[in-house]
Symmetry: D2
Amino acid sequence: MRLRAREMGIKIGVMEPGRYNAITDVRGVAVGHSTIIEGEGPLVVGKGPIRAGVTAILPRQADIYEEKVRAAVYPYNAYGKAVGLLQVMHMGVIETPILLTDTLNTWRVADALIDYMYEVLGVEATSINPVVGETNGSYLNDSAGRHVGKKHVYEALDKAFSPSGTGPVEEGNVGGGTPMSGFEFKGGIGTSSRATPEFTVGVLVQVNFGRREDLRIDGVPVGKELADIKPRKVQESESIMIVVATDLALSSRQLWKVAKRAILGVARTGSYGGVHSGDFVIAFSTSERDVEPLLERGEKRRPSSGRRSLDEPYLNPVYRATVEATEEAIINALFKAETMTGRDYNTRIAIPLDRVSEIMSKYGRL
Amino acid sequence: MRLRAREMGIKIGVMEPGRYNAITDVRGVAVGHSTIIEGEGPLVVGKGPIRAGVTAILPRQADIYEEKVRAAVYPYNAYGKAVGLLQVMHMGVIETPILLTDTLNTWRVADALIDYMYEVLGVEATSINPVVGETNGSYLNDSAGRHVGKKHVYEALDKAFSPSGTGPVEEGNVGGGTPMSGFEFKGGIGTSSRATPEFTVGVLVQVNFGRREDLRIDGVPVGKELADIKPRKVQESESIMIVVATDLALSSRQLWKVAKRAILGVARTGSYGGVHSGDFVIAFSTSERDVEPLLERGEKRRPSSGRRSLDEPYLNPVYRATVEATEEAIINALFKAETMTGRDYNTRIAIPLDRVSEIMSKYGRL
Amino acid sequence: MRLRAREMGIKIGVMEPGRYNAITDVRGVAVGHSTIIEGEGPLVVGKGPIRAGVTAILPRQADIYEEKVRAAVYPYNAYGKAVGLLQVMHMGVIETPILLTDTLNTWRVADALIDYMYEVLGVEATSINPVVGETNGSYLNDSAGRHVGKKHVYEALDKAFSPSGTGPVEEGNVGGGTPMSGFEFKGGIGTSSRATPEFTVGVLVQVNFGRREDLRIDGVPVGKELADIKPRKVQESESIMIVVATDLALSSRQLWKVAKRAILGVARTGSYGGVHSGDFVIAFSTSERDVEPLLERGEKRRPSSGRRSLDEPYLNPVYRATVEATEEAIINALFKAETMTGRDYNTRIAIPLDRVSEIMSKYGRL
Amino acid sequence: MRLRAREMGIKIGVMEPGRYNAITDVRGVAVGHSTIIEGEGPLVVGKGPIRAGVTAILPRQADIYEEKVRAAVYPYNAYGKAVGLLQVMHMGVIETPILLTDTLNTWRVADALIDYMYEVLGVEATSINPVVGETNGSYLNDSAGRHVGKKHVYEALDKAFSPSGTGPVEEGNVGGGTPMSGFEFKGGIGTSSRATPEFTVGVLVQVNFGRREDLRIDGVPVGKELADIKPRKVQESESIMIVVATDLALSSRQLWKVAKRAILGVARTGSYGGVHSGDFVIAFSTSERDVEPLLERGEKRRPSSGRRSLDEPYLNPVYRATVEATEEAIINALFKAETMTGRDYNTRIAIPLDRVSEIMSKYGRL
């Protein structure tokens, strides 16, 4: 049984996580995965082996088309195929669940999300903006076979809409993260959160980036220390999808600034932001809490004026929470992912947690 | 037989069009349409009536995945579902044909474009960035039925790759433009070009925007004069997709600036840029001609320095060409589109060209 | 006595202007000019002749540092030296008056604005973000002499803060517009507004762009008809500064979208958006009116939720008002500007209004 | 004598620095400082005490107005007053030296830079785009007194243009960095470089950001270990100006992507990107070397086609160099800065290097 970072005693930053240390600590947010692991051996495009899936994140377990949520997008390095982001950037709202998958499935997953909006949620509009993110799992998966279809999209969404959707979140080789790599170890889905009396920030990541030697955990050069473990093949794809949720009633401009902070968390794990990197941050607000309690003493605010957000020093702890939770979510993705062999017997081994533990001790952290 | 603007004696601007007055005047660019017109009567989602299609624009009749073309995107009002644009904005290149369709078909059309890249063009990558634009044809079409599939994508692309793909371009109720409206008349696909000895600019538009009373043709308030023709239903969607091609070897930054000019052409036809408007401009270069001949006398240029584009007064005629061709392409879309009745007997009438002729005369233009 | 467009019977668009047909129709907004016209004859840098000035626009006649106003910036073609805009784009607020001047005075004018914030308004902060825009008046002015100093900045601001600051606005050869050209005629400052029971939009422009032959007035090719009047020198600079004010409590994101519409108004007067064009739009809200009355029937809105701006069809009339007022403000700048001779006897003649009148009649508009 | 990071044995990253480990390792780049340290005791605005200055960075020791350099800007958190950046972002070139100073001097420093362009460099244009960055030194300096004038701008530029300008760069309490803070220690100017046979990247920073407890050096939580040293006052301003130079002939789009990487280096030192943070990265190319030698084997490139930059895997080492050099430049700024007492006896102590050394050892790094 692999442990999460915090279970191993590794505490990133200074703020405390919420109940599950997951994006679902933001009240109302729900997650569901559909995972496909089928076949082994040589790649036959269209047949397999399949190591793929889809992860659904619901801003709330309801039809958000009617009650859209405030949102923002920060494209750090936009070598990526994510759909729906330009409209979110423009309108400042998200109107569908967010799905994460393997690159070449992006469009059929988006199409299946439309099906779900119509068939399950009963939306009647002729203009719907599905949001789907991706990273490239082709090292282990028959990506060109595009095996993630309507069935899997429905499964992930149904799970997210089920009562368990708002509980703890599975990490590692699940959903969209199934075939992904991280620092040339096995990567995938990770999550973390930070909670204060005034607000909660939750982050979910799909990790598929990083060179072995660059990995840092809480600043410790773990990657360099693990250089003896040679990856069979260097990381080709260099991407991360990041979803940030908060219960604060932030404006889309404020969410955009929050989204930008997630990249600072990525940087701390050792990313150099590769050329072929599709790094997008999507941030949304569930609007459960007003920002009022965050305002610093003496801050000007005319009650009825709509002058909210004229100045924003109270956002600083929100930024900090975002950086910490992003960094920890990435580490969780690595820690929870298990060794996987995929197409053509390509293998990504799980990061050896006992070695990590030793290294952290050596560098004075455990 | 409906006429194009120029055939009626309406000359937009001062520059001359190319041979076909079409985007295909840019050497190498090719266009193909697939049009579906089936059924009539009440809307039954999934059955029809169908008024839809897809238009394919090839930067060149070859595998552009291997030889990508320089490109840029300008999102004027990004309430739209176009896919692939963020990567183009980031990388400055397009690596697939550009497809235009009805909103809700966007993702299955993108998925079929991936099929075509693999099956027909033989691309072997696991990262492909399809570019698909859309406007909302649901006033006439069973849009939620999403009837545009692989068959139609292949048909449009095959036509574009055929020898006739580089010839004159069909306009009006064809391809992606089939169900679209313009100024509450029938809209659709339009094209125009401007050619000089030094360069050619070609524009293709998918028109689906505008209120009747706002229509201007070469500055004449034609819409106001046609106010007696009441549309059955006011325009709900307010979008235009614009593709600009040039044979100049412009950088992606320069193409971005060219793309911005297309919106000036839109403005001249009477757009106020509606809230629910998905207005994107995609510009690309076929790199047939260097910018050298455009440089003004005395302009500094170190031959081997790569200092090209340090200053760019020579772009002014390119901007002018873009504005003129965009304006004329929009008018062509209206002029060539024929009256169409679609789902629920909804009807968009063609703009009456005889009346237009009279109005242009009344205002001293013909 | 030169007339404004509307006084000549030229009505741009369909909406009605406010009381003064000026940016000051937005309650609280105030304007003041300081104009320097000194010397004649050959240019002696540092001596003159001087044709320069500064125009001050106050979002309200108060210390807006303490009560900042929501704002946005749209840089259409950013070949310009305006200062303060990036912080406005980021924070979504303006905290000083807005000043407009001749290019090379930009920084000393900004520095003098800081003086005014300290000395007159009593601001005590060490971080102040002055907003100053510019266009290039060097065809008539000793621009390199940088003659606009603290005295003139104080004069313009004092006038704006005086009771008359909220009244009618002087146009043409005043303030920052003093030496500017428009369509190779004399240009300068222009203003216009649109008022409805629910909101007012006011626009002020500093016009310094356009080629003679491109000028359109309400769609009529006036420039082509005036081609017999040869300018002594073609327009070198190609810029316009646009300030849009509204009393609606819009978010900065919404103001950004409003700002984008101003460019549609510029397009209608005949701009091709020259390469050397510094075209910036600054939009701000005086927050006098909530958007509530604008909401369309049936629109979802949870009273206490902060979900405002989740959907925005009610912005359409605001967009229309912005386009119309921008177009009319530009024409007003041309109409009110008088012939001016400047350095080296360079002369820009005023557009001949009798000829304009004839042309408008010929084309069926008067 | 305080040491630089590398002199203390702290090696950031894996790449090697150039000769001086400074931005001047990029051939042609030159730096000059003018430093004002006058008076002590209580603040009297306009009198002092003065702790201020200006730093000049020349892309080359020549009139770059005539031979502009390719450039890009990345505004990470744009609560800042830097001037000239929007034009650089639009045109992709810089045409003046870059100056860094204390916030409220920004505009008079820009104005003095115009003087220098005319009087010393003999530029004759009436459109010049000065580039000046700033951070807020008001904790130690009489910032509102705005003491940096023409004299200091000339001194900094003259030094930069002198033969020593291209040599080693002074760090710490010099030039624009004179009054700045870093992690609530003394901050200021820092620099570092990375050199390979194919290219050099140099970075210069003006450090004025960070909370004590967040400081990380090469991943070690130095700030937490130094928590016993209480700052007299917490950091109010949260900004960093970063200038990145390279001798590679990159396009402005590529330079923009390089600029984005600098923020990853900032993140590694412990920044959470404060709300009141003016974090701008300016990157430029001296175009001494073509990118040809960087191209990976097998990469497609048509010699005469201008198709350069269609794909860019070769940029990865440039990104890495930028991250490493930025991180090290920040540490150098802290290490070289000496304790300073300023206005009102406010004091920023220098980070105690002996303690740093102990901490680095404790955590297994020295």
